[in-house]
């Protein structure tokens, strides 16, 4: 049961930080900008890849001698013909043909340079073996032109194929393959396959951004309350535990809001775009996985938020806190930096290490979940490590918070913290002016404040 004061702190932290420009930008601006950028790139790509306005005059040189002018030619490609070059006479020896084709290629190149041709393609002598043609143009070649040439060649091959061919001619011209999930046998589209590989990565990116953004808010909030001398007033209004729990819950809810907003953005795109729907559908996450990811998210947030809270209470200025927090963030981002290792060998030593190292375990485990089937002992061990780490860091953060919250203008050094913990002196305390004099006085034995 949340006490009314915890609720007040929770609500204040949530609403205040929700209105921060940096949160609004991260939560709404980044997805919106991504959406707009994706839309523009998509529009540009589609326009570029489907428009053939600038490729009206396309010719070919048939070195393989497989094109029948009487055969199908839906795109009206014309053979390259040089009016100054005499066509080889019927029944010419094959050894004269290469020279003729070379001359035609040179002529086509000149025509291309002169702007008389938009593109030309050469069907090599051994096309039947290689299946490849050379396409030459002076500007970027759209996908539609490639498709057009492919259709033209397929149609020509089919036209020439004997009726007694034992297999459909399309199988000779093109190779089609179907992707299936090995476990379920379910057919996967190309987008679904890409989704299966990339979704865990995208998920941890969102997860990481939400966690690190809100944990940073928590840290800067504590630094602000400490440096603005609010802590002393707050300490007379509510218990430190109420303040901490209120902050953790408020900012945890904010992190969740960010994830939900981004997820909603993703689902919205899926609603309007079939490829995106297939992309999202490619995910291998089951309900149990989603529950596990939820648990990992909570534990990971606790670890980071508590660490940031402790840092905020221990330092004197936000700039200083950011430097220390940067180290934690660097550790957390390591699995993302080494994401290739997860795609190539999800059960390799590096992904395995990241799954068990407390600060990277949530991200490491989630990334592996998407691309591999994990043994349950690994999941349980990783969870146990994270729970123990979370408990330890929360415990330590509370001690640091209690010790450092009233230390105005002074940083809590690791040495001071260690001495305080060893002597069991962690109370709601400060280093008051009186202790300043004590620091100058001679010591008989080691004390807390030096």
């Amino acid at each position: 049961m949340i006490s009314s004061k915890v609720w007040l702190v929770l609500r204040r932290e949530y609403t205040y930080n929700f209105r921060r420009p940096s949160f609004l930008f991260t939560a709404f601006g980044v997805p919106l900008i991504s959406l707009i950028a994706m839309f523009l790139i998509f529009q540009f790509s589609v326009a570029r890849e489907t428009k053939l306005d600038k490729f009206q005059r396309v010719s070919y040189i048939d070195r393989a001698l497989i094109i029948d002018p009487a055969g199908p030619n839906p795109a009206d490609y014309t053979p390259v013909t040089d009016p100054d070059l005499a066509a080889p006479a019927a029944g010419s020896q094959p050894d004269v043909l290469p020279a003729v084709f070379d001359a035609l290629e040179a002529y086509a190149s000149e025509q291309l340079q002169a702007g008389e041709l938009d593109a030309y393609f050469v069907i090599p002598e051994h096309y039947v073996l290689s299946g490849q043609v050379t396409l030459v143009a002076q500007r970027s070649i759209p996908e539609a032109l490639r498709d057009g040439i492919e259709d033209f060649l397929t149609a020509q091959i089919a036209y020439r194929a004997p009726e007694t061919l034992p297999v459909p001619v399309e199988r000779l011209a093109d190779v089609e393959f179907t992707l299936r999930d090995l476990d379920s046998g379910e057919e996967l589209s190309e987008a679904a396959l890409v989704g299966r590989l990339l979704l865990p990565f995208i998920f941890v990116m969102i997860y990481f951004m939400a966690t690190s953004t809100t944990a940073q808010f928590l840290m800067s909030g504590v630094v602000e309350e400490k440096e603005n001398r609010l802590m002393e007033i707050l300490a007379t209004s509510l218990r430190p535990a109420e303040l901490l729990v209120g902050k953790l819950l408020g900012l945890g809810a904010l992190a969740l809001t960010q994830v939900v907003l981004w997820a909603m953005g993703g689902l919205l795109i899926a609603q309007i775009n079939e490829s995106a729907r297939a992309f999202l559908g490619g995910t291998k996450f089951e309900t149990s996985h989603l529950i596990l990811i939820g648990v990992l998210f909570v534990i990971n947030f606790l670890i980071f938020a508590a660490a940031m809270l402790g840092i905020g209470a221990a330092v004197t200025a936000e700039a200083e806190s950011r430097q220390i927090a940067g180290f934690f963030t660097f550790l957390a981002v390591l699995p993302i930096m080494f994401s290739v290792a997860f795609f190539t060998n999800p059960n390799g030593p590096l992904p395995l290490f990241f799954s068990f190292f407390p600060l990277t375990a949530a991200v490491g485990l989630t990334m592996r979940l998407g691309v591999s089937t994990l043994p349950s002992w690994q999941i349980w061990l990783s969870l146990a490590i994270q729970v123990i780490t979370a408990l330890f860091i929360v415990w330590l953060a509370v001690k640091v918070f209690r010790l450092g919250m009233l230390m105005y203008g002074k940083s809590l050094t690791p040495r001071t913290l260690w001495v305080a913990l060893r002597e069991g002196r962690v109370t709601l305390t400060s280093v008051p002016a009186e202790a300043g004099e004590a620091a100058r006085a001679p010591r008989r034995r080691k004390g807390l404040f030096r």
Partner: protein
Amino acid sequence: MSKEQHLMSISTENTAIAVHNITKQYGDFTAVNDLSFDVQRGEIFAMLGPNGAGKTTTIRMILDILKPDSGRIEVLGAPINDATKERIGYMPEERGLYRNVPVLDVLVYLGQLKGMARTDARQRALALLEHADLTANVKSKVSELSKGMQQKVQVIATVLHRPDLVIIDEPFSGLDPVNTQLIKDLLYEMNREGVTIVMSTHQMHQIEEMADRLLMIDHGRRVLYGDVHDVRQRFAKNAVIVEGEGDWAALPGVERVEQGENGRGVVLHLAAGVTPDAVMEALAVGAAYHIRRFELAVPSLNEIFIEVAGTGRANGASGG
């Protein structure tokens, strides 16, 4: 109930703060050393002492921010608890408000943390802001206010929830005379309504003017305690201050003549056994003397403070 218990009960009822033999150490350093005192309900009580004397530590122990190593503290009749805390208004020496939040929002939030309903906190905050001539700044961020305005907002935050006990550290620092009077009037008004006020300040003239009783701490120990008038009388020397003309040294019973403070008048130090009345009689009959002012030389709290604190420093008294 025995007679003794009954008396204790009455005593507890009348006591806002009862501090019994509290000690607080930081490592080897003793910040507060076996300190005892009480604050009666409805009085204005002043805490004073040199920097580093232990005032802030004592206040923090009263407020349960720090735990004493030994000793006992009762606030509003019982050891402090969550309910008691809501009846206390505290303004620390180091002022604190959310800087980038509108004034009204800060006040409502702090009022709610003290147990007020949101609407009540809002109405009371608006009324107090109007009283402090800050209505135009209700929506301003705290960081946009002048230092004096921030100080007034801080005082409002302290008294917003209608506390029974107000503990206020240096209430007048940073305020001009007009705003000093405004805050003073607010404190007097609350005191008239029965609110106990404990203030810690270095402005001795404010203590002389406002406080009923005082406690002076030095090196964590109690060095002065009691009614302000009594304390001043206790330090009164056998001397009188006179302004006028005449040969002061020739007066019978005058042992030594010294220039008065700020060059106004003279201080006549009297021999042992000579009373001010006797000097006054001698002046009245002496035709060579013209008197414009005659008063007992009671030292100001400032002089007492310097004397007591200076002696403590010279002796390197306890505490450390």
